[in-house]
Subunit: 204 residues, 2 copies
């Protein structure tokens, strides 16, 4: 267990067991981690998944890269160190959601393999399912879409450390789910739901 | 809206409305913020509340000071600045839980009035209920209990910035719920549940 700077701190064991939560929620807590380039379609897939799950009375919640940066991570920038801390914090929050019995849908570029591995390990160590979803849209297509005009700014040098342009994206090698960038959000979401049923996170 | 260091970031509107979540969860998302000295009985009350709520099929989850410091906040110490950042982060996480439709039970010494006011404003601005619960156990009684032997260490000068000994505790002036330190955990929890029903966060 990481003690970090906090000595004199004792782990408090909750009184509610995970199985009790799962029975009440009718689902297992889990983290779905959506990674891919800016403009790949991560947020669209995340909100589509949330919509479909909640409609079926499952408890799901999107942790979105953009939204989190307005709150928890508003004191972080986009340099390598801050990106790593950004993902670390989100990973911890997703783990809390999963432990609380929810399906956390985390949608983050999360370009560095090591950072994603850290979040996965965090979940593995806690016995919580971690499902990596790679939205595999080619850079050229993301740049063509450029919904927020960020690639244009990055090309003009107005944004530093922009993933795919001036900062690397390390694609997942063995994600649980590989979504082709040309797949519609509806089809991608259906693909994920089938996986969640097979994995026993939601019921048939 | 706080932009902080994150420019080029656009707020993503989720597709699931808060009322839809409330209907499915049969409860309103909210944050219960338990404050008081070390040894006052905050964690005991928090886990008692979680136990009672989950038993009645409500969705509640404890965010505990000690536990959070092993994860999200393991890179923070106990100096004034780090204490403030500790509470800020927990406040943001509690708000996410409340927004997701859960009852977040945050149990933190949170000695500084300004820090608690910041978390309250965060919730007010988002239209989410924030319920401050002051577990009002006198310092002498906390020191007598001293379950983790922390007061003894603080008196010997082995812990710096210890609330009540070498760092101030600013008691809430108008908490939503004032729990006398001599009340049993069962009675305190019952007192909170009555409030939650009156406030419409859970049903009768």
């Amino acid at each position: 267990m990481t003690q970090g700077k906090s000595s004199n701190v004792v782990w408090q064991q909750g009184r509610v067991r995970r199985e009790q939560r799962a029975a009440i929620f009718n689902q297992r807590g889990a983290t779905l981690w959506i990674t891919g380039l800016s403009g790949a379609g991560k947020s669209t897939l995340a909100f589509q998944l949330e919509h479909l799950l909640v409609e079926q009375r499952y408890k799901a919640y999107v942790l979105d890269g953009d939204n989190m940066r307005h709150g928890l991570n508003n004191n972080l920038g986009f340099g390598t160190e801050d990106r790593t801390e950004n993902i670390r914090r989100v990973g911890e929050v997703a783990k809390l959601f999963a432990d609380a019995g929810l399906i956390a849908i985390a949608s983050f570029i999360s370009p560095f393999r090591n950072d994603r591995a850290t979040v996965r390990k965090l979940h593995d160590d806690a016995g919580l399912p971690f499902v990596e979803i790679f939205v595999d849209t080619p850079l050229a297509e993301c740049e063509r879409r450029d919904p927020k005009q960020l690639y244009a700014k990055a090309r003009r040098g107005e944004i530093a450390d922009f993933t795919g342009i001036s900062s690397p994206y390390e694609a997942p090698q063995t994600p649980e789910i590989h979504v082709a960038g040309t797949t519609s959000p509806e089809q991608s979401a259906a693909q994920v739901l089938v996986y969640l049923r097979e994995r026993g996170i939601i019921r048939v």
